[in-house]
Symmetry: C2
């Protein structure tokens, strides 16, 4: 089988539709201290570059990419490619509509 | 080593203190469709026997025990032994105090 030419590589990063986001999947995905920390870094709603997030958490790129992919696939975050960078944001509107109160629980300081 | 006599078997079932319950652990634990279903069966606050829960979910006892143990160890449920039965309840007060809004998110019908 010939190698797929780079030009036909899908340029879009897949995200689940808001209505396809599942509560158990979201819970399982944010039920990891590192991924919960990423959600909290995104709590103010601002986009952050993948590199900046990795830097703030002291993660090597491969580790950061892995956790950011899981968050994206679960519908927790959105990833926007721009040039050679990727920008990450919380899907707050979608999550608030599907699971009201969930994001507040996640980002609230524990006592 | 001699077998431990039955009489010194710990009669208490261990539960984490409310202040030791961790959000990421709770999230990870309820991030499973079956365990989320158990939480919802306990949503009205009433105690239910282990056997009744297993029956309502159509689970064999070994499967039910496993999931109920994970929920107890995470601090989500309380298990009270009575004779040969065990009664399960949601630790709603503890969870509401530690993570306000979380139980509401878990037990709300999804749209």
């Amino acid at each position: 089988m010939p190698a797929m030419p780079t030009a036909v590589r899908p340029s879009k990063i897949p995200h689940p539709e808001a209505d396809a986001i599942e509560l158990a999947t979201v819970m399982r995905t944010v039920g990891d201290p590192l991924r919960l920390a990423i959600v909290r870094l995104l709590a103010d709603g601002a986009e952050q570059s993948c590199a900046a997030l990795q830097d703030r958490l002291g993660l090597p790129p491969s580790t950061g990419s892995y956790h950011l992919r899981l968050l994206r696939e679960a519908g927790v975050t959105r990833t926007r490619p721009a040039g050679t960078q990727r920008y990450i944001s919380l899907r707050r509107d979608d999550l608030d509509r599907r699971f009201p109160g969930l994001v507040d629980v996640l980002i609230r300081d524990e006592r």
